[in-house]
């Protein structure tokens, strides 16, 4: 808990990570707009789910690199490791911290993307949307935190993270994009999304357990 608080306080004081992540998201939206508007008045509703998740995953990559670069640069991590806490606690705190940052980014990004791209209202399906969002976020953050811990201890650091993170996160991307697109474009309720929601839940459980089992080794001596 204290680690989570420390990360949050630190970020709220400097705001450097959040501001760049949010700016990145807005810029990505503009880029997507130009990249996908292939003809006058094209309806981008069907693409919005994909755009959102691509943006979140890349924004998360930025965030993950920062969250550990700070620890490494100032040698804070050594201090953390000296604390009399279970290593797995560090993992949970870091994951929670990253999850909060991702959620803040999403609070900004989702309304903006909706406003610009989605041409029908999905207010009635807000609940399933939030469920999908949260489940996918937990998976992204748990796996991301574990891999970022590994990559920051290597020579290539932030260069390595996307290479090991992106292929592993594909299942989440497929399920989350599919579910989000169904909500945006066709207004599918929780019943129509059940298979994908259960899948995301399964992914979260499997990788939290896997990270739980291996984090001790990942964070090192």
């Amino acid at each position: 808990m204290a680690i989570l608080r420390k990360d949050l306080i630190r970020e709220l004081r400097t705001r450097e990570m959040l501001i760049s992540m949010i700016l990145f998201v807005l810029l990505a939206m503009v880029i997507f707009h130009y990249a996908f508007t292939v003809k006058e008045g094209a309806d981008l509703t069907y693409f919005t789910g994909g755009m959102l998740w691509v943006t979140f995953i890349f924004a998360m990559l930025l965030g993950l690199n920062r969250s550990f670069a700070q620890e490494k640069d100032e040698r804070c991590l050594d201090g953390l490791l000296l604390c009399p806490v279970d290593r797995v606690t560090i993992f949970l705190a870091k994951t929670a911290g990253n999850l909060i940052f991702l959620l803040i980014v999403q609070v900004v990004a989702v309304p903006v993307f909706t406003l610009f791209f989605v041409q029908r209202s999905y207010v009635a399906d807000l609940l399933p949307f939030v469920v999908v969002l949260l489940l996918a976020d937990v998976g992204i953050c748990a796996l991301g935190t574990l891999l970022a811990t590994i990559s920051m201890n290597t020579r290539s650091r932030d260069l390595l993270l996307p290479i090991i993170f992106l292929p592993l996160i594909v299942p989440v991307l497929i399920a989350a994009t599919g579910a989000t697109t169904l909500i945006f474009a066709e207004g599918a309720g929780l019943g129509g999304l059940l298979a994908r929601v259960l899948f995301l839940l399964g992914f979260d459980v499997v990788f939290i357990v896997a990270a739980y089992g291996t984090y001790d080794f990942a964070i090192g001596e």
């Binding site: 796996l143 574990l146 590994i150 990559s151 201890n153 290597t154 020579r155 290539s156 390595l160 290479i163 090991i164 992106l166 292929p167 592993l168 594909v170 299942p171 497929i174 399920a175 599919g178 298979a195 994908r196 899948f199 399964g202 992914f203 499997v206 990788f207 896997a210 291996t214 080794f217 990942a218 090192g220």
Partner: protein, 227 residues
């Protein structure tokens, strides 16, 4: 020392099985009755290679767990060797799959669950080697590689399952729980090819393990002389 790097008997056995499988595939097994005709013969290589790649990654997965438990470098060596061979076989699966796809479906590539999964498998295990090359310290490299091998192996079936959410593809499901859906003569040829390919994998693993061991020994000797 020589014994370490060569396992000729196994290679010979694997070769005999593979050639026999190929002969049976063409001379004994019936020509496919549907539209595929002779192009279906590549199945006798394609499927065994795919199966062998999965066996290699499974062994790497077990080796990774054993490494994390014991920190014994021999498990790390087994892991590297298996991932390397698994990757090689995965590339071959894609190559034979693409050739067959072109012949049977008229297209080199189809975003279909199995093809897509194998493509991701290739990316994953290439990343495994990128990760290894980014860590200098030996023990840490082995530990990270083991963690990644475990996570990658868990991720593969999940990815395969996820691709089912995509619009349906063209790949046939040959072996189901109910049976193989193959006529007997086809099954015999297929089975022999599969044994041959698996023997080839075992032979290659043994040879590569020998090479890796020699490499380590050379490194040790160099250190002794240098130090």
């Amino acid at each position: 020392m020589k014994q370490l790097v060569s396992a000729p008997a196994l290679f010979v056995e694997a070769g005999i099985c593979l050639i026999l499988g190929l002969l049976l595939a063409f001379l004994y097994a019936p020509v496919d009755a549907s539209t595929m005709g002779y192009s279906q013969k590549i199945f006798f290589y394609h499927a065994p290679i795919a199966e062998t790649a999965l066996v290699a990654f499974s062994v790497a997965f077990v080796a990774a767990i054993l490494y994390l438990r014991s920190q014994d470098p021999k498990w790390d060596r087994l892991g590297v060797v298996c991932v390397r061979l698994g990757l090689l076989f995965s590339v071959l699966v894609m190559a034979t799959g693409m050739i067959w796809g072109k012949a049977a479906w008229g297209t080199w590539w189809d975003w279909e669950p199995r093809l897509t999964t194998f493509l991701l498998v290739c990316f994953l295990y290439v990343a495994y080697f990128v990760l290894r090359s980014a860590v200098e310290e030996e023990q840490r490299r082995a530990t990270y590689a083991a963690i990644f091998a475990i996570i990658a192996f868990i991720d593969v079936p999940i990815t395969f399952f996820a691709t089912r959410f995509l619009p349906a593809g063209m790949h046939p499901t040959v072996i189901t729980i109910g049976g193989t859906g193959m006529p007997g003569s086809m099954f015999v040829s297929f089975f022999i090819s599969m044994i041959g390919m698996t023997l080839l994998l075992v032979a290659l693993i043994r040879r590569d393990l020998g090479v890796e061991e020699l490499k380590d020994r050379v490194a040790d000797l160099k250190n002794t002389i240098g130090g």
